[in-house]
Symmetry: C2
Subunit: 441 residues, 2 copies
Amino acid sequence: MSKRWTILSFSFCGWKGGHPCNAPSHHDRIARIAGQKKVTRNVNMEKLRNGYLFPEIGTRQMVHMEKYPNAEVISLGIGDTTEPIPSVITKAMAEYALALSTREGYRGYGAEQGDKRLREAIAEKMYGNMGIQASEVFISDGAQCDIARLQMLFGSSMTIAVQDPTFPGYVDMSIIMGQTGEYDDKSNKYKGIEYLRCEPRNHFFPDFSEVPRTDIIFFCSPNNPTGQPASREQLKELVEVAKVNGSIIVYDSAYSSFISDDSPRSIYEIPGAKEVAIEISSFSKFAGFTGVRLGWAVVPSELSYSSGFPVLRDFDRIVCTSFNGASSVSQIGGLACLSDEGYEAIKDVISMYKANAKIIVDTFTSLGKEVYGGVNSPYAWVHFPGQKSWDVFTEILEETHIITVPGCGFGPGGEGFIRVGAFNSRECILEASRRLRSFFG
Amino acid sequence: MSKRWTILSFSFCGWKGGHPCNAPSHHDRIARIAGQKKVTRNVNMEKLRNGYLFPEIGTRQMVHMEKYPNAEVISLGIGDTTEPIPSVITKAMAEYALALSTREGYRGYGAEQGDKRLREAIAEKMYGNMGIQASEVFISDGAQCDIARLQMLFGSSMTIAVQDPTFPGYVDMSIIMGQTGEYDDKSNKYKGIEYLRCEPRNHFFPDFSEVPRTDIIFFCSPNNPTGQPASREQLKELVEVAKVNGSIIVYDSAYSSFISDDSPRSIYEIPGAKEVAIEISSFSKFAGFTGVRLGWAVVPSELSYSSGFPVLRDFDRIVCTSFNGASSVSQIGGLACLSDEGYEAIKDVISMYKANAKIIVDTFTSLGKEVYGGVNSPYAWVHFPGQKSWDVFTEILEETHIITVPGCGFGPGGEGFIRVGAFNSRECILEASRRLRSFFG
């Protein structure tokens, strides 16, 4: 910052005049300086280890397919939906798209916060009796993108806690935003992040008395990857912890539509949660919108900083400045999802994935494996005690041509597990089951 | 961070056991602590002044419409496209959307970096002979969103320069990322940002010898709001300045499709630019995709940090971690825009907006105003010497029911100007012209 701009040559800018750089010594000075002052890489980016989990798995899948060009690879890996979207939804999108070619139907920018009708529909359909207002719902292009925007909102000074294991986006965005220290090879953790161990012995709910307070608690339920939904009692404790410690919960309910027992589908089912929790969610797994891109965040008006300033106002500013709204076509699709007809049709697709998950759970259970999740979630969490996740991943891929996800990709607490997803056709799930039984049986 | 989690009550979590908190004194301690440790607001968010410009204008428009419910307000304000999208493009989107309901046509997640075909089409159609590879093109949901992602890439330690006036997103994201100091009420500038004054007397190109070096130079051409494209000679100087000073240019070419003279449409028309420049661009103004949401960023493989590490690899990581790709429906629309038929149809729409801009320029010129831009850009930049931009904005709105944009919203260098946009139907532009002639004439 101490140096003035240095300009190498002005042969082409005589029209401007006034540059103090015609002395012969100028070029010597330039030559000395040039190349010495390139931009330094962001130190936070340097802290990131390995590739981001899911692209890394994609790369390994491609390598495998090149090695075995005739193998029929079955992906139970990245949580990518496979079933067609009910036509009541795609018809709405198609009609809207076509109308963009008419003067009456053309629409340009929508509100950055999203289409008012969609905000209202989400408030009503997803949060019926929980007191969430449309003005507290922000439409987005997906939960992963909202994690990034929330981290921009929080800034580098925040301390965070995450479940261990959990979706890696929380940690990776925390690193990028500068909230963490370096990676510690011994613990496989980033310094400055509190890892809330969730495992069978504690019913996949952390013991908060064991870890320091943090400003933010990322909490995903049903958890990705363990497939476990938090119970009402557990969430009551979570809200209480946040309230007493002045923490903000970021509650990720992207898989809530898979819940079929009495576990809460939203953190706002817990009294008092509006004062301490943001919720992010998505149409991706709910409606097969992984490619269409649509999600939402709820920032209650009751949630405030220590000064009393509402978090909602800052999040609104972040959304208006760093985002320009989700695609209008996707939003129309979202509205159709929440129509009575759309909602019923979606439920059938979810039921089908849930039945897939049951097949996976039954398969591994019959093979004598400890299996968690897979009931209120499209993910089964399978334990291979004493083995390394990547080794299990590689062995299953080599022997059965099935893609899974290594548990260690979700945090050190995932080591020894793999995540097996139910997003595939019934035919592929049954074929995967046969292959797994044949290999492990 | 020094404190352990405090838990108020365990009546509901007896199943967990092991909490060291049953002593009566516990609740006293909680009561003392509770409320004292709420999360502190991000100091960077506190630095932001006023609302973000465009939502602020939207609010003022709404207030005006409530005040004059019968007035026919004409918006020449926010740069929102108004003309229908050619049907060859919307048909492609509609067909794709409908096919999502079929097993053959269903697609889930795409690559975070975008559809390979679209990356290739952009590399070929937009950068034909400039040596840009498809792997250097990242599909996005718009240029504003890419500015945010680029700022995440850069991090808080970078120093930045912006044209003054310019699109406010660069500065606002810089503040949010913590690159700046406080706002200085005297200069109307944020500390830590270099403002490159662009005004009639310097042909709207900054004198780089007058300002300190920065890591990043945001440069928008044709500039929003001045409507001025940089000439080839000016861009040669810009690239040279970046090269010698080791700066990275973020070149925003969102309005390049409006260029009809020999000004470069891309920074990569300048030899050597690939070593120093990122380019961001958009389908918003090019194809009327303001609501559909689609853009792209080019990060050349030659661009590296001082360590030699390629910027492209870090940007790829940012995209994979904070973003999940643009909507697949929008991307199919983008592909159709770049088909021969789509491209020709789009050109007609742009010509129509350009003819609108000429009407605006002619109107203000005939009224004796100094008018800039409006030739290679949809924006005319009108000077009202000695007046405040917001006063001019308010006066025009009150007297003619026309929305413009106050120049000071684009930086202190915009004071005394208003931006008048050509995005409207011919009928509305002609009516606006009549009203303006009547009021100022």
